[in-house]
Amino acid sequence: MTTGSKWMAALAGAAALIMPLGAFGAPASANYPAKIGDGEGQLNIVAWEGYAQDDWIKPFEKETGCQVHAKYAGSSDEMVALMRSGGGGEYDLVSASGDASLRLIYGGNVQPLDVKLIPAWNDFLPNLKSPPHNTLNGLHYGLSYEWGPNVLLWNTDKIKEAPKSWAAIYDAQYKGKVTVPDNPIQIADAALYLMKAEPKLGIKDPYELTQDQLAAAAALLKKQRPLIKKYWALASDEIELFKNGDAVIGAAWPYQTNTLKAAGVKVEDTIPEEGATGWADSWMLSAKSKHVNCAYKFMNYVSTPKVQAQQAIYFGETPANPKACDAMNAIEAGSCEKYHLNAPASYFDKIHFWKTPLPTCADGSRKCTSYSDWQRAWQQVKG
């Protein structure tokens, strides 16, 4: 061995120590408590900012004696990192979004929940009871919390005829006035549109794309690029684009619609005829939680209509529990309808909830493209 290669080997060894070892284990197996016992007095949660407001956390602490220590995370990646920090037992619960939940499940960081201990689960919207982003092999690794669709938003002053299809954001007549999220998952929106527009591609699930299907979606997005004013990264970006007249049509969350309407901008949104993608958050219990009883008490508490409504209004999203409708209207008249919680079942069927693209398709074949592939394709779309 020469000195040079020895030096390289030593560096490689040092590098191996620094890189996360065994970050991906196997999904944890079920270890249900027989019943929810007395609280442990403490509960450590990782949550989105705005998910642990005093309005509903204080009454919970008083009722159960479980002191809630909330750690806010700025991104899904930070959530995953926090749940894995210190060997995994630092935090009990996390409000994981669909882009983090499967990573936590496959990483063995979260454990299955016994929904029998959470009666409100029975009232949940049917497609949020066991959605594929938090349920694996019939085991509930997550309890759905709140969600929102990705809607088609447009300026009614500039576009008189209400668009009915996602084709509008690929339409050259809006050149330089379109905005869509700067997120690889936008490929799923393109795939969703192609499911109807080009059935011969054979796309069944917008999150499970073969190489060819991914290429077709990317080609559509590349054609869209000259029409784009800006790929928005933050909700506030899009609000500003619509306020300042830089964009007149785009993909958005209901939050943007409501904020813009409140600011007096003439906008409308819809779920087009192709359906829409959507995001959904789930509460997930750490595989090494030290406060399981408090965690179950918390999950029961936040599933109640009142807290679901408070959370929904505070953040601008929709509860998983449709019984929250009246409580929402009590806080803000008409809010249940505004956030589409009283929409007919056909509305919810149109929403394809966000999940991480995995190389293994649902049928077990390994023809699908991974999130890494999506990310690379998205980079090439943006240029």
Binding site: A23, N244, G245, Q380
Partner: protein
């Protein structure tokens, strides 16, 4: 003098004394003691981290498990070179960094010259304060302010319409990035150029005049060569700061405005592809190394 006079207890004083006596007898030991901690910091935290980054660039991510596969491969570097998008992003980053550097040099020189040679003592102080003042406000706040200025219905277009000119559509584009970068890094160019110009002895100007050179000739033949090290030092700041930035492209860029930093960021954060991010991150390292080598050959380090 005894240890008691120092207010130290006997034992500690003894140990300290023995230590200082040792350093007195062996000066080389004192040197080692002084140099080792910062050197260890530099080597372990700084150089070794770069080494790890470079090693990681030769690894890959298993697409099925997401685990890091530590077999040596050149695939990441191949992707950087062969996929045209990644090449475009490198060229865009360098081009805008160079444009920003040139713009700042052109803007900074007259300002710095005025501050160093024309302005009186009090005005000079005011100008220096004004140049440095924006650095005390948040960089983000200043970028957001520019976003409002350049937007479709923003201050710029409002002003253009007020004086009867057609409105511009430069918000969220590479033009916007060029303007904003040139604005935020301008103080980093003005200060070194000012320092270089201030150092020119007044006698040089007199000598130049005595020999018959007019203003322009003095500027080109005397001032510019003497200011060059300051310009190059400033350009190292503006070039490297632009080269490594990834926030401005997110905030004021449009479609097709990603920088090298944005690709690295999305590969680490969104895609969890750390090896590829490491490979791509070596590109600006190489660029900067070449730039510094060039700057050294032009003598920038001798005056810094």
């Amino acid at each position: 003098m005894t240890a008691a006079e120092f207010g130290l207890d006997g034992r500690q004083g003894g140990a300290l004394r023995r230590l200082s006596a040792l350093f007195w007898r062996r000066p080389s030991l004192a040197l080692v003691g002084l140099v080792v901690p910062p050197l260890a910091w530099l080597v372990l935290i700084y150089i070794a981290a770069l080494g790890v980054l470079f090693i990681a660039a030769f690894w890959s991510v298993d697409p099925f498990t997401g685990e890091i596969d530590r077999t040596w491969t050149l695939a990441n570097f191949e992707a950087v070179v062969s996929i045209s998008t990644y090449r475009t992003i490198v060229f865009r980053t360098i081009l805008i960094a160079a444009a920003v550097t040139l713009t700042d040099a052109i803007l900074a020189f007259p300002v710095a010259y005025f501050m160093a040679r024309i302005a009186g003592r009090r005005l000079r102080l005011v100008l220096i304060t004004l140049v440095v003042l924006p650095l005390w406000s948040s960089y983000l706040a200043r970028i957001y302010a520019w976003r409002l200025i350049l937007a479709h219905d923003g201050a710029l277009n409002w002003a253009l319409r007020a004086i009867g000119l057609p409105s511009l559509s430069i918000g969220y584009s590479n033009w916007a990035m060029w303007i904003v970068f040139s604005y935020v890094w301008l103080p980093f160019m003005i200060m070194p150029v000012y320092a270089a110009l201030e150092r020119i002895p007044p006698s040089y100007f007199e000598a130049s005049q005595d020999l018959g050179a007019r203003g322009w000739r003095t500027l080109v033949k005397v001032v510019l060569p003497l200011a060059m090290p300051g310009l190059i030092a400033g350009s190292i700041f503006t070039f490297s700061l632009t080269l490594g930035d990834y926030i401005t492209p997110v905030l004021v860029g449009g479609p097709g405005s990603d920088f090298i930093g944005n690709v690295v960021y999305s590969n680490v954060g969104v895609a969890n592809n750390i090896p590829f991010a490491a490979a791509y991150a070596t590109v600006p390292l190489v660029m900067m190394a070449l730039y510094l080598w060039g700057a050294r050959r032009l003598g920038a380090f001798e005056v810094m």
